[in-house]
C-alpha cells in the first residue's frame, strides 16, 4: 500500500469519508502524523461551532394533563415529531460539517452500540441528552460511560427501566446491558440477569422534566450475587462491576473492530486499551486493519454523509424538497439516525447489499449528483473526457476502479452528473 492509499484507508474508516483535499493533506503529513491528528485534534472544531446543538423547547407532552383535549394531544404529537425531525436534520448536518471527523463517527458508533430509538423514547430532548452523554464519554474509559448510561433517561425508557421495581424486577435493561452493551453473550448467566435487574431497580424518569431520578422505596437494597460477586449492588456499583470485567473490554473492542474493520479479518490480540482512544489507536495501527481494505460495506449513513462531504453539499443549505428527499433516502436505505431498528443496533455487511437497498441507493445517488456543488462539478469537468473516471476516483477517494467499473463509467464521462451518480453506486465506493 502506498502512503496515499494508507491514509485514504484510515480516513475512510475513521471518519465519515474524507475529501480529496483532506487526503492530500494527510499524505503530506504521513500516516503516523495523520493518525495522531485524528485521535488528538487539539484545535477548535470550526465546523462543529458552525452547527450548534439546536435549542429544543420542552417536551410538548409535559404541558398536557388528564384534562387535555384530543386536539391538544394531537398537537403535542405533531410537535414531538417535528422536534425529532429537527434533531435528526441537525445531526446529519453536523456529521457533514464537523472537522473532527473521528469524534463524529465515534459518536455514531456509540449511538448504534447503545441503540436507543426515538420510536419509543419519543422525546427529542431525551435523545439529544443521550447523544451528549455519549459524546462526553465517547473517547474515554468504559467505566464512566456505563455508569452514565444506566442513569440515562432515554435508555431507561427504551428498556423499561422505570418499570423495574423491587416487587418484581423487569429484566429488559439488565439483560441488554450485559448482552449487547458490555459483556456479550456467554459471559453471564440467567441468574446474573435476574440479580442485575434487582440492582437496577429504583430508577424512574420524570417525563415532565426529562430527568432520571432514584426512588429509594422502589429499589431492592438486598444482597445480590452478580458474576460471582456478592454485595448490595445498585445501578452504579453494578455498572462498575460490569465495566471492570475483562470480558467487557474485549467485547467492546470487538464491536469497534466489527464496525471499523469488519468481520472478514479477526481482531488482533490485545486490541482493548485503557480507553476508547487507545483502542482505536491500536486498531488503526494494526497490520490486520490494513488487510481489511476493500471489504467493509458502508452503512447507509456513512455512505450518504461521506458523499455529502465529498460533493460539497451541506444538508441544511439544501432546498426543502431535496432535504426531504435526503431523509427519505436514508429511510428507504433503512438507516435513520436516532431510529435504530432494534436494541441490537443496525445490521452490517452484506445485509445492506440487497436489491431493495440498491434501488434506494440509485435514487439517492441521483439526488446527490443533482445537488452537487458547482465548484466540485467543475473539478470533474476540468479533466478531459477520457480522464474523468480517474478524476471521479480522486473526488470520491476511491483508490482505483476495477475493469468492470471502468467499463461502466467510461460511457458516462460526457455526462458528469450521471458519472457522479454511477460512481456513488459502484461496488468500489459502496464497499470501502
Amino acid at each position: 500500500m502506498t502512503d496515499r492509499e494508507a491514509v485514504a484507508h484510515l480516513l475512510r474508516r475513521a471518519t465519515f469519508g474524507p475529501t480529496a483535499d483532506e487526503v492530500d493533506a494527510a499524505e503530506r503529513a504521513g500516516p503516523a502524523a495523520t493518525l495522531d491528528r485524528l485521535l488528538n485534534p487539539n484545535r477548535a472544531d470550526r465546523g462543529a461551532a458552525a452547527t450548534p446543538v439546536p435549542a429544543l423547547p420542552p417536551d410538548p407532552y409535559a404541558a398536557l394533563s388528564k384534562e387535555s383535549s384530543r386536539e391538544q394531544r394531537q398537537k403535542a404529537n405533531t410537535e414531538r415529531r417535528e422536534q425529532l425531525q429537527l434533531l435528526t436534520s441537525w445531526w446529519l448536518d453536523r456529521m457533514v460539517a464537523a472537522e473532527d471527523g473521528l469524534s463524529e463517527k465515534l459518536l455514531f458508533f456509540w449511538h448504534g452500540h447503545w441503540a436507543t430509538s426515538a420510536q419509543k423514547v419519543k422525546s427529542a430532548r431525551l435523545m439529544l441528552g443521550q447523544l451528549e452523554t455519549l459524546r462526553r464519554h465517547a473517547r474515554g474509559p468504559l467505566g464512566p460511560l456505563v455508569a452514565a448510561m444506566v442513569r440515562d433517561p432515554a435508555l431507561i425508557l427504551w428498556l423499561d427501566g422505570q418499570k423495574n421495581t423491587r416487587k418484581a424486577p423487569n429484566e429488559n435493561l439488565a439483560r441488554e446491558l450485559m448482552e449487547l452493551f458490555t459483556l456479550g453473550i456467554g459471559s453471564y448467566t440467567e441468574a446474573d440477569v435476574k440479580a442485575g435487574a434487582r440492582a437496577l431497580t429504583g430508577w424512574v424518569v420524570d417525563r415532565r422534566t426529562g430527568v432520571a431520578r432514584f426512588e429509594a422505596r422502589r429499589h431492592d437494597p438486598g444482597e445480590k450475587t452478580i458474576l460471582g460477586r456478592t454485595g448490595r449492588f445498585d445501578a452504579e456499583t453494578y455498572a462498575g462491576l460490569l465495566a471492570a470485567q475483562p470480558a467487557a473490554a474485549t467485547f467492546v473492542a470487538g464491536r469497534l473492530w466489527f464496525r471499523y474493520a469488519g468481520s472478514d479479518v479477526p481482531p488482533p490480540a490485545g486490541l482493548a486499551g485503557a480507553d476508547t482512544v487507545a483502542t482505536l489507536r491500536t486498531l488503526f495501527s494494526s497490520p490486520a486493519f490494513a488487510q481489511t481494505r476493500g471489504t467493509l460495506v458502508k452503512q447507509p449513513v456513512e455512505w450518504v454523509v461521506g458523499a455529502l462531504r465529498q460533493l460539497g453539499i451541506r444538508p441544511s443549505k439544501l432546498p426543502e424538497q431535496q432535504r426531504k428527499q435526503l431523509l427519505a433516502g436514508l429511510n428507504a436505505l433503512d438507516q435513520v439516525p436516532l431510529r435504530p431498528p432494534s436494541v441490537g443496533g443496525w445490521p452490517a455487511g452484506a445485509a445492506w447489499l440487497t436489491t431493495s437497498s440498491l434501488q434506494a441507493r440509485l435514487r439517492t445517488a441521483g439526488m446527490l449528483a443533482a445537488a452537487t456543488a458547482p465548484a466540485v462539478l467543475a473539478r470533474l469537468t476540468a479533466a478531459p473526457v477520457a480522464g474523468r473516471p480517474d478524476a471521479l476516483a480522486r473526488l470520491l477517494v476511491v483508490d482505483a476502479w476495477g475493469a468492470r467499473t471502468r467499463a461502466a463509467l467510461t460511457p458516462l464521462a460526457g455526462e458528469p452528473r450521471k458519472l457522479l451518480a454511477a460512481g456513488l453506486v459502484s461496488p468500489e465506493y459502496t464497499v470501502s
Binding site: K167, I185, G294, S342, T355, Q359, A403, V431
Partner: protein
Amino acid sequence: MDTLTRRKFMLASGVVGASALAAGAGAYGLRDLLDTAGDRDPRSRTLVLVTLYGGNDGLNTVIPYGDPAYRAARPELAYPDDEVLRLDDDFGLNPALAGLHQRWSGGGLAIVRGVGYPKPDRSHFRSMDIWHTAQPDRPGNTGWLGRWLDGAGGDPRLAVSFEPALPPLLAGARSAGAAVPVAERKAAKGLPAETLTAFAAPEAGESAARGRAAACFADLRSVDEMIRQVRDSAETDEADPDGEQAPATATGGARTPLDAQLDLVAQCVEAEVSTRVFSVSLGGFDTHADEKQLQAVLLGQVDRALTGFADRMSRTEAGRKVVVAVYSEFGRRVRANASDGTDHGTASDLLLLGAGVRGGWHGAPPSLTDLDDGDLKYTTDFRDVYATLLERVLDTDPGPVLADWRGRLGGLF
C-alpha cells in the same frame, strides 16, 4: 392492479431479466432462470413464513385458561374465561384472534404445541439467530432457507422478503434471497440500463462484499421486473403510535404493516411468479411492560392480516397451494413481572394454515408447573417443523439443509 396472467409474467420477467443477466453477472445462468421463472410447476407449493420479532407471549396467544396455574402465575395479565375464544375445554385463543378462531372451527388452523429447542437462549438476537439458522448449538452465518436456496439453484427470486435488509434466514452460502421494497413503485431511473448491466459483471480478485455489491445489480434487474408487474403498493407511511402508551423496545421486524406485506405476497402468488418462499415479519412483541393491551393490538394486526390473506388465497388455484407458518423467537416467562408484562421465556406455539395443513392440535402442550427455571419445557423441536415444511411444501430433502435432522412432525399434512 389486475392479476397478471402467467403469460404476461413470462414476457415481463423471464425473458427481459434473462437477457440482462446473460450479459452480466453469472450470478446464475439463463437456463436456471427460465426453469424457475416462467415454468413454475403448477403443482408446486409456496411457503409464507411469518416471523414475530420480540418474543410473542405464547401463553396469552393460545391461552391455557383451564389450568389454574395459568391464572395463579399471572393474575393481572391472565384473560378471564369468558373473554377467551374457546378452542376446547382447556385452551382458547386471545380475544384479538377472532378470525383465526373462526378458521380453527372450520379445521383450517393447526397449532403446534411447545415448539422450542434444547438449552433455550433468552437473548432475542441469539434465539432469533437460532431460529433463522436452525443451528441451536452454534448459529452459523447461513439461514435455513438460504441453504435451501443454495440447493435450489440460487435464483434470488425463489426466496423473497419484503423487508429492506435481508433477514438472515434467506442468506445462503452461495446465494441470497431477494429483499424487495414495498413502498417503491418506480424503478430506479437516471442511470442507463447499460450502466446497471455493466456493474453486474464480476471482477477478478475482488472482495466478497464487492462481489455481492455487483451481484445486486444482476438481482435488481430480474427481481425488479418481476415485482414491477405485480406491485400495487399503497404508500405505506410509517407512523409511530401516538400517545402515552409506549410501544415495546424494538428488537427487529419489518416496518411495513404485515397486511401490506401479505398483500404483495398475495399478488405475487396470484401472478404465479417463480417464488417458492416468502418471508414477512412484524416486530414489537417484546412486551416487558403493560403487555395486555400492546399484545392485543399486535395480535389483532396478525389476525386481520392472516385471515384476509388466507381468504384471498382460497380463491385461486395457486393460492390454494400456499402454506403459512407463524412463529416467534421465544415465548415469555410463565409468571408476570411487576410492570404488567413478562420477561423472556422459552418454548411457544407455532401456527400453521393453508394448503393441506391438517387443522387442530399437534404435539403436546408443555406443563405450566413442571418448569425449567420459570420457563416452559419445549415438547417439539422446531427443526421437526422445518424438516416437515421442507419435505412437504418445498419438496426438498431436509438432510443437506438441516444437518441430517431426522425428526418430523407427523400428521401435519
